[in-house]
């Protein structure tokens, strides 16, 4: 008789089992799990990147520093990146150039700056198709680029991180920095959307 194939324990019970095993070894500092969940949901948010973008739109010197050394520039604004993310490359979109970021091998992002990746970024559809069928995938996601717009895809295969600096909508020039930050979306910093009215 073949061995009976048993189903795995539900994943939440597996997580709880590992957590309990760690607890029994006193490996978990008090409050660590809840604090981490809070940080992940409250601190690693796209509002950070939106503030970086708004500053770059309104301060040409900052924009230059951001494009030269992204990590140093975001740290000026008080944002942090994990130690192993040694470098942040900021990719400047123009009316005739669309940069798009992805991670085909896993799901790497500059999560402390542009937020934890959305579900679709980690899904196999985006990972498998965006490098090879960029224009088609962008169109399916609602961004129908004219043929004359060049597309550059950036595959995050090392601990260097990338973010897209979206084009500032012309009608928003002159607005205060904090109002500009409100219109910048996570999708625009991944490069699968451009910023157009109506703004979120």
């Amino acid at each position: 008789m073949p061995d009976e194939v048993k189903a795995p324990a539900p994943v939440e019970r597996r997580v709880a089992a590992l957590e309990q095993a760690f607890e029994e070894r006193n490996l978990i500092p008090a409050g660590f799990i809840d604090d981490f969940a809070h940080i992940a949901q409250e601190d690693w948010v796209p509002v950070n990147g939106a503030k970086v973008v708004a500053r770059a739109w309104t301060d040409p010197d900052f924009r230059r520093r951001l494009l030269e050394n992204g990590k140093a520039a975001v740290m000026e604004l008080g944002f942090t990146m994990p130690e192993h993310h040694k470098h942040l490359v900021v990719l400047e979109n123009t009316p005739s150039l669309q940069n798009v970021i992805c991670c085909t091998l896993c799901s790497c992002t500059a999560f402390t700056i542009i937020g934890l990746p959305p579900g679709w970024y980690k899904d196999f559809e985006y990972r498998s198709r965006v490098a090879r069928q960029s224009r088609t995938v962008l169109r399916e996601m609602g961004l129908d680029l004219p043929d004359e717009v060049e597309i550059k895809v950036w595959d995050t295969t090392t601990d260097t991180r990338y973010m897209v600096l979206p084009v500032q909508p012309p009608e928003t020039v002159g607005r205060p920095e904090d109002k500009l930050a409100e219109i910048v979306t996570k999708e625009s910093m991944i490069g699968v959307a451009r910023l157009e009215p109506p703004y979120r």
Binding site: A17, L18, I33, F36, L116, E125, Q133, G142, T157
Partner: protein, 205 residues
Amino acid sequence: MDGVHDLGGKQGFGPVRCASSRTAFKAAWEPRANALYSLGVRLGLINMDEYRHSIERMEPRHYLSASYYERSLTGFTTLCVEKGIVSQEELERLAEGLFPLSLPSAEGRLNAMPRESFAVGDRVRVKNEFVSGHVRMPGYIRGKWGVVVGISPPYPFPDASAHNLQSQDERPYDVSFRTEDLWPQAADQATVHVGVFESYLERAR
């Protein structure tokens, strides 16, 4: 390794389901799983390269059917078992059911010796190498020509670091490839930029 995780350019997947999950976490266990892995990094139990490789080593059917955070949990737990921090039996007793882990690792490898350094603008070729351990060269660039457009600071060499082998840190280069070179007549026209470690590259002749 040429695993199912190496998805770039694979055909057959449908449209991106962008509306399906916009939030970072969908269930209460997901940030807890993420926190445990993060604690493992913070305590120095694991490095990022062995973590990524532990996920790639998942049994392919499990990899393809698991969610992102289940993959993270499976990889991290595999490393905890392999390092003797916990045992699979204990975890299965606590979980009151099976706790599937990743499959064993093949051997790692050291940096290429000697290696060439490159400058922005150099035309390079990705070596035609097949690596059974961890590697951060997506299969779609193997043997392909591209142009260096950026240089990153040195990082631990993933092929060694994922297997806890001592190695030299080395620089990855952002290399620009044309999709018509990667998938002739079967891709949208664009350039694809990949971070490629020095050991994976040779000068295009």
